[in-house]
């Protein structure tokens, strides 16, 4: 049965292997150069030269940086749509299941081997592509340090292996339920996307207990006026900030995103020499006349205004509460996420066995 399953899967496996080989060649040609650039330009840069060196480094192979993660992002759902969905549905549509199920192989074994070959191939291809990408991107990731960012998490590490297994089984299940390939492909696309988004935003943040930091609200100053800097300096680069709420002196939550109100703004209003923080109340301190004069200048608020504004915020007792997953949770989170999707795949496989063995046709 394994030989027959391979015979049926050989075209698609050959296509996947060829694509994987092409990516590997690209990576092997460009990867060492990228690593070299990192060591020469970024790792050894001194002082002010670092910013421009980093920018220049991050701009190298820009198109590969954009395209390669997209490939890994869509790969699992392609397995689900083009390998999983037709696996049983095509047999039901064309009637070949009657030939398959009247050979001297039980239906259970037939399905087990077909699922095994398909799922393992999908997982292997996704895993290898992720391995190549994780290696190729390693110098870039070392600079950007954002592996927990939702846009990065799913296209590095071991999670794509879980996605591939789940997407493949989702396709098979949809095909068995709908008995037609094309609708099953559409359902697979929608259901997989929904599952990925749901896990990313509603499950992954809570897989491990998040950490919490309370820090005084510190304003960043610039041409645009005062802006909140959530959590600084407790939250380190690479930590995944889940929420940054602002609390007032008595501990009530008065804003999101490190500012005041639902959209997290910081705004001051002035009337006859009295300044108040919008949404909170009048400032306890008096602003010097010079600060008020400079508040509306074309070049942005003056330094004295910013200082007085910060004092107002500090004396009002405003603080940030930041919840975040620290960078150290990256690999445990990867493992949990992979296991969740593998468990979903196993559950779908069990359903497929039950359905094919007892109730189908």
């Amino acid at each position: 049965m394994i030989r027959f399953a391979w015979l049926q899967a050989r075209t698609q496996t050959a296509i996947a292997a060829a694509a994987l080989a092409a990516v590997a060649v690209f990576a092997l040609v460009t990867g060492p150069r990228l690593l070299h650039l990192y060591h020469v330009d970024v790792a050894t840069c001194q002082g002010s030269a670092c910013a421009s060196a980093t920018t220049a480094f991050l701009a190298s192979y820009r198109w590969l940086q954009v395209l390669a993660p997209q490939l890994l992002l869509v790969l699992p759902v392609l397995f689900g749509m083009f390998w999983g969905a037709p696996l049983v549905a095509r047999e039901l549509e064309t009637g070949t299941f009657r030939m398959a199920w009247t050979q001297s192989v039980t239906r259970k074994r037939w399905l087990a081997v077909k699922l095994g070959v398909g799922a393992l191939t999908s997982m292997a291809v996704a895993g290898l592509l992720s391995l190549i990408l994780t290696w190729w991107f390693s110098p870039i990731d070392r600079v950007q340090l954002n592996p927990l960012d939702p846009s990065m998490f799913g296209v590095r590490g071991i999670a794509p292996v879980g996605y591939a297994a789940f997407a493949f089984m989702l396709g098979v299940t949809a095909g068995i339920l709908l008995r037609r390939t094309v609708p099953a492909m559409a359902v697979t696309l929608v259901a997989f996307t929904a599952a990925r988004l749901a896990v990313t935003y509603y499950v992954r943040p809570y897989l491990m207990s998040s950490q919490r930091a309370i820090a005084p609200l510190i304003m960043a100053t610039g041409n645009g006026g005062p802006t909140p800097t959530p959590g600084a300096p407790t939250v380190k680069p690479g930590d995944w900030v889940l929420s940054a709420q602002t609390i007032n002196g008595s501990g009530q939550v008065i804003g999101q995103y490190g500012g005041v109100g639902a959209s997290g703004n910081i705004a001051f209003s002035m009337s006859s020499g009295n300044v108040s923080l919008h949404g909170v109340g009048p400032c306890p301190n008096t602003f010097p006349a010079a600060a008020l004069d400079g508040a509306r200048s074309a070049s942005g608020p003056s330094a004295s205004f910013n200082a007085a504004a910060q004092e107002c915020i500090t004396r009002l007792g405003l603080r940030n509460i930041v919840t975040y997953q620290p960078l150290s949770h990256y690999w445990p989170l990867q493992a949990y996420e992979t296991l969740i999707f593998l468990a979903l795949a196993v559950a779908l496989a069990a359903f497929c066995f039950w359905r094919v063995n007892r109730t189908l046709t």
Partner: protein, 298 residues
């Protein structure tokens, strides 16, 4: 009776519709059995239950002493050719044979290859580009090369032209002669049944309306015609299957093991076609009578 297919109150339900209901029958082994009946009688369902492609919703189905489709050994004993004679369009003829070799312990690869060669099929040709007749021959080859004890064929010749049909049935007869397999063949074409089958089962609305050796059935049925008379006046040994009357004349199709001695009758033999039609309409009338709610008001 040594039965190869035995069902007891077997039923198969799809949603609220019963495709086969309360079907009890026994088909003897060692025969080439023709299964005929009107559309919707449950022939396809019965054959698929016997092949293990379907499971009965109620009752039991036993084939060659085992539950259909339950084990590899059971599957190896039964060959099946489906109505649509579907094959893997993207696989070649040769790959189909290799599939058979891989998936069946008793596969006769030599004979399968020889049969494909005899049919003039190129092993490298894709099954998707075969004609209907060639594809039917390929699926028949697949079904018999596993050396089954029983071959089930579900109207495999329905969509074939007369020549392809004859060639198909010829192949089937050769296999029966060579391997000694039992066969159950369902068909609407009585002429085909008559050519290849030695046992007949007429299935109407899940019930066996008639079953027996074709030669016995033909010998024990007669068509009588003569002056008009009531069917109740016939001797007790003569069972009336079909009766038709004109003002002066009566025609009966009767079953009688003895000879018809009444000199008033003109006695003629019946054809298998007559026989099947007579039993099918009688059984259908009985079904209608069982369900008065559906009776047609004349």
């Amino acid at each position: 009776m040594n039965a190869m297919i035995e069902t007891s109150a077997a039923g198969k339900q799809y949603g609220r519709r019963w495709a086969l209901r309360d079907c009890t029958l026994a088909i003897p082994a060692g025969k080439v059995v023709g299964l005929v009946g009107p559309n919707g009688a449950g022939k396809t369902t019965l054959l698929q239950l016997a092949a293990g492609l379907l499971y009965p919703t109620s009752g039991t189905v036993t084939v060659l002493g085992g539950a259909p489709g339950s084990t590899p050994a059971q599957l190896a004993k039964v060959g099946f050719v489906a109505q649509d004679t579907a094959a893997y369009g993207r696989l070649s003829v040769g790959q189909h044979l290799r599939m058979g070799e891989w998936l069946n312990p008793n596969w006769d690869s030599e004979r399968a290859a020889r049969r494909i060669a005899d049919l003039g099929l190129d092993p490298r040709q894709r099954a998707g580009s075969l004609s209907g007749g060639q594809r039917a021959q390929l699926t028949l080859t697949m079904a018999v090369a596993k050396r089954p004890e029983l071959v089930l064929l579900d109207e495999p010749v329905a969509s074939l032209d007369p020549l392809a049909r004859r060639e198909f049935l010829q192949t089937l007869m050769e296999v029966v002669a060579e391997q000694g397999s039992s066969v159950v063949l369902s068909s609407h074409l009585i002429a085909d049944i008559e050519r290849v089958c030695d046992y007949l089962v007429v299935l109407v609305a899940s019930r066996v309306a008639l079953a027996g050796e074709v030669s016995d059935l033909l010998a024990s049925h007669h068509r009588l015609s003569g002056p008009r008379r009531d069917e109740g006046s016939l001797p007790s040994g003569q069972e009336v299957i079909e009766a038709s009357h004109t003002d002066v004349q009566s025609t009966f199709l009767i079953r009688s093991d003895g000879r018809v001695l009444d000199p008033a009758w003109t006695v003629r033999p019946v054809t298998l076609d007559d026989l099947v039609l007579a039993y099918m309409s009688r059984a259908r009338d009985a079904v209608t009578a069982r369900r008065p709610g559906l009776e047609v008001v004349r």
